[in-house]
């Protein structure tokens, strides 16, 4: 296999479209800072966190494939690698919020604490420590991404198995580091928006959502690359079938964690915990609350239940789009209810920033995909992946 056969040159049309979307996002952000600062900052936090989630999902995918010794997916690896390559963009967004608008977090204006560990909570939710933690999480993930991508790209030229071994070790370390830090990051960046409320499973629930959205994005990218790049003859029906199985499984995993959190709080019925759901189950929030379950679990579950549907490109694409919309709604329901005065507001600011999210993600990916051949041409396990039978 020749590296030159797999270089990637995106059509000017798609680049232009993504630039327009990113421009809309930037314009919305700038205008919003003047007209509706709090709402726009919250939405900016949402899309930055969304972007970080997609990037770390790419990392997690790659790490899981290495650690489990999966070779069926080797030929597809450059796509999750490209997703991991957009991590800096998401990290910049998160840092912007923490540097310029930490007052989004109510605890920065003094914390009203109850319970048996107020000292610890006060220490944990202090601005300097909060910022230091964010630096540790994000630089940690970026460091792993940089190292693993470099090693993978180096393998293209010499085809040495030692690179795979090195990345397998790094992947195992990453998964341990990531398991702890992503859990804490979701506490810090999202859960502490309502500092009096807490849920231990929140981090796992967030991981499930991030990984599910990552799988959906991966599916869309694979289908698109199959039609628009040299991956045309590389991605087989069996590869997509397996990605479809993962979509189905992780959608159900998300629902499992969603329900675990909901049921325990419903069962215990403690006021400081139920307030979270009281806010989200009343008035106009209720239809969105139900819609969240429908988009993230109901539709994917029943659409992907028959075996045939997991192989149909049309079904996979539609389900992935539903899941990506569902991820946005899931985050919207996590972030907005305490701030938007009793009823959901979805308007120009939300739509503009979502357009920006799509544009920035798209542009970042198009750049990241050009960095290396679309197929890891030097990977010793490539042949196995190319002749994969389900």
């Amino acid at each position: 296999m020749n590296a030159h056969d797999f270089s990637f040159e995106p059509a000017a049309k798609i680049v232009g479209r993504m630039q327009v979307l990113a421009g809309i996002g930037a314009a919305t952000l700038v205008a919003g800072l003047f007209f509706a600062p709090q709402r726009v900052w919250l939405n900016f936090l949402l899309v930055s966190y969304y972007l970080v989630g997609l990037a770390v999902a790419g990392m997690a995918w790659m790490a899981i494939q290495y650690v489990s010794g999966a070779h069926w997916s080797t030929a597809l690896r450059r796509v999750p690698e490209a997703m991991a390559g957009i991590l800096p963009l998401g990290a910049v967004g998160i840092f912007c919020v923490l540097i310029f608008q930490p007052s989004l977090y109510p605890w920065t204006g003094g914390l009203h604490v109850e319970g048996d560990a107020p000292g610890f909570k006060l220490m944990w939710l202090s601005l300097p420590f909060f910022r230091i933690r964010a630096v540790v999480y994000l630089l940690g993930w970026l460091g792993f991404a940089w190292a693993m991508l470099n090693i993978s790209h180096r393998q293209d030229s010499d085809g040495d198995l030692s690179h795979t071994r090195k990345n397998t070790r790094l992947a195992a370390l990453f998964l341990v580091f990531f398991g702890v830090t992503f859990w804490l990051a979701s506490f810090d960046w999202i859960m502490s928006l309502e500092p009096e409320w807490y849920s231990t499973i929140f981090g796992f629930y967030n991981f499930a959502g991030a990984f599910l959205s990552g799988l959906a994005a991966l599916t869309l990218l694979l289908v698109w690359l199959q039609g628009h790049s040299a991956l045309k003859n590389v991605i087989r029906e069996q590869h997509l079938h397996d990605v479809g199985k993962l979509l189905f499984a992780f959608s159900t995993f998300w629902a499992y964690l969603w329900f675990s959190q909901y049921m325990l709080i419903w069962y215990a019925n403690l006021p400081e915990e139920t307030i979270y759901y009281v806010r989200r189950l009343h008035g106009f929030w209720q239809p969105l609350f139900v819609l969240n379950l429908v988009l993230n679990w109901g539709v994917p579950f029943f659409a992907l239940l028959p075996r045939m549907n997991k192989q149909r490109v049309g079904v996979l694409v539609r389900v992935s789009i539903v899941l990506l919309a569902g991820r946005w709604l899931d985050l919207y329901l996590m972030i907005m209810p305490p701030f938007s005065g009793g009823k959901p507001q979805i308007g120009i600011w939300e739509i503009g920033l979502v357009a920006g999210l799509v544009g920035v993600f798209g542009l970042g990916l198009l750049v990241a995909l050009r960095r290396a051949p679309l197929v890891p041409v030097g990977d010793p396990y490539l042949a196995e992946s190319l002749h994969y039978h389900a």
């Binding site: 909901y262 049921m263 419903w266 069962y267 019925n269 028959p306 075996r307 039978h389």
Partner: protein
């Protein structure tokens, strides 16, 4: 009714797949294919229709879930209402975990039992094997000699061209 069968025995899965394709191409009726392990692509090569087992499993899962919700509703809200933490007697969220478990139980056990039933497998059933080697290192393609146009010599030649190690005729009322 007894059938006249022709059994081709092969040493590799590639030869077996080739023999299946060649037999189908010439319109022979394949009774069954035997292999010591699951071979990828056999179903496609034999042109088997998709399994109907998923539908059975789906129906059993629904049945399990339905029965369970009905039973829990009946015990906690109808027959012996118990006040748990001030919750309504009919508390659906509390039913979900067990409903899920019973659904999985019905679907999974039902899948295995349905499979046994369809394959007519039961304890102490005697194995019906065309040649004993298929449990070890041999693959077998079993064709039925449907009518007089079936020329065993011709088929034997076809199998031998595809590296069959052994071809034999069998007459049986058992294998089906």
């Amino acid at each position: 009714m007894s059938k006249r069968l022709l059994v081709g025995v092969f040493e590799s899965e590639d030869d077996t797949l080739a023999a299946i394709r060649a037999s189908r191409q010439r319109g022979f009726k394949i009774v069954d294919v035997y292999a010591p392990y699951a071979v990828h692509g056999v179903e496609e090569a034999m042109g088997l229709a998709p399994s109907r087992l998923p539908w059975v499993v789906f129906a059993l899962g629904l049945l399990g879930a339905g029965l369970k919700v009905w039973f829990e509703f009946w015990t906690t809200a109808v027959d012996w209402p118990v006040n748990v933490g001030g919750k309504p007697f009919n508390s659906l969220p509390a039913f979900v975990p067990v409903t899920f478990e019973v659904m999985v139980l019905f679907a999974a056990v039902g899948a295995v039992l349905s499979f046994f039933f369809v394959c007519r497998l039961y304890p102490a059933k005697r194995a019906v094997l065309p040649v004993a080697g298929v449990t070890d290192d041999r693959f077998a393609v079993v064709l039925e000699q449907t009518d007089s146009t079936f020329e065993p010599e011709e088929v034997q030649e076809m199998f031998e061209k595809l590296h069959a190690v052994h071809v034999e005729e069998q007459i049986t009322g058992e294998v089906a």
